[in-house]
């Protein structure tokens, strides 16, 4: 088993491969990424591909719903859409925001179990809370880093999404420079100044990896 794993890793150009470990026959981890920025779409796609994920990138919430077959049209759901393992969406998009997309997904019986991650460059506490309360798996600060996505996909692959015991617990990150984009409110300034990513689950990966 260990030997097979080592051989697989050697064949890959030095990138981390989450799906290759278990060898053939394991379905790829399929991520649907939604972002109106062409630059961000390119980056998130590469980030995910470098982790050997299958990626579908769309430029709006409505296209995401179309892809999933949730746009109200009677088109049959594409085979691809049935196998989406994670949805990563930008928050601020023209038309439908990431939050609105999140609500639609969580409101659908077919797709509500799919983890949804929100990405945003603005760290507004009320916004973050709203997303987490609506069922977002995590709220990532932009620019999104390789380590964020790697940690996320690794944790989801292990099925640790079931651990919601730490709902609402904030992960205190390192130095993040805060851009105050909400109306001045002393309390939110204080607490939001130290936040980079928020999740329903608890501590950073290494500790959680030990369990199970």
């Amino acid at each position: 088993m260990a030997v097979a794993g080592a051989v697989l890793r050697q064949n890959l150009p030095g990138n981390m491969d989450l799906c290759g470990k278990t060898g053939k026959g394991v379905p790829e981890f399929h991520v649907l990424a939604v972002d109106d920025s062409i630059v961000d779409r390119k980056v998130i796609e590469k980030l995910l591909r470098s982790l050997s994920c299958k990626v579908t990138v769309v430029d709006s919430g409505s296209r995401a719903l179309q892809f999933l077959g949730l746009d109200g049209e009677n088109s049959s759901v594409g085979f691809d859409a049935l196998k989406v393992n994670l949805i990563m969406t930008d928050y601020s998009m023209p038309g439908m925001t990431g939050y609105e997309l999140l609500k639609k997904i969580k409101g659908s019986s077919a797709f509500r179990e799919i983890p949804v991650v929100i990405m945003s460059s603005e760290r507004i506490l009320a916004r973050i809370n709203r997303c987490l309360e609506e069922g977002a798996e995590e709220f990532l600060s932009k620019p999104v880093k390789f380590s964020d996505v790697e940690r996320l996909t690794r944790y989801l692959l292990r099925g640790e999404a079931d651990e919601v015991s730490e709902f609402g617990k904030r992960k205190l990150p390192k130095n993040c420079d805060l851009e105050v984009s909400s109306p001045s409110s002393p309390s939110s300034d204080d607490s939001s100044s130290s936040l980079c990513s928020y999740s329903r689950s608890s501590s950073p990966l290494p500790k959680r990896c030990k369990s199970v």
């Binding site: 990138n15 920025s37 062409i38 980056v43």
Partner: protein, 149 residues
């Protein structure tokens, strides 16, 4: 010029860009993603950024040229540019965008125009620096050196 010399130049120039705030850690993230399967990844992303930025700068000029400025539109464009500049590590541009949004919130047309000027200036600088960087990389490749720093 031999490969070793070129590489030294490239390293020195890159360090300078980080020191002067033209680039931040995010640019390094992009470089880490570049590999044999995508040897032009960074150049491709940067090209997309240039096209996007130019589009936005033109829109901003139009917005601010109106009799009655629609500050919501201005803010939306600046927010877009702030996002994409942050995604490639274009720190100086990102910082001007932050100031721009504050000024825009105050509905200060004069201030916005100044910020736009500043943005255009920073953009031109950034573009020229990155073009120099990519040129150096191309020269190294042509001289037979390995592709990445």
């Amino acid at each position: 010029m031999d490969v070793a010399q070129l590489k030294r130049q490239l390293i020195a120039f890159t360090e300078l860009l980080y020191r002067e705030g033209f680039l931040d850690e995010q640019f390094n993230q992009l470089q880490q993603l570049q590999d044999e399967n995508n040897p032009n990844f960074v150049a491709e992303v940067v090209t997309l950024f240039f096209e996007d930025a130019e589009r936005i700068l033109n829109e901003l000029a139009n917005n601010l040229d109106q009799q009655s400025v629609d500050f919501k539109k201005v803010d939306a464009h600046v927010h877009q540019l702030k996002g994409s500049s942050s995604s490639i590590g274009a720190q100086r541009i990102q910082r001007v965008c932050i100031i721009f949004r504050t000024v825009c919130n105050e509905k200060n047309v004069e201030g916005c125009l100044k910020c736009l000027q500043q943005l255009k200036h920073e953009y031109a600088l950034m573009k020229s620096k990155l073009e120099t960087l990519f040129n150096l990389e191309q020269q190294i490749l042509a001289a037979g050196g390995p592709p990445s720093i």
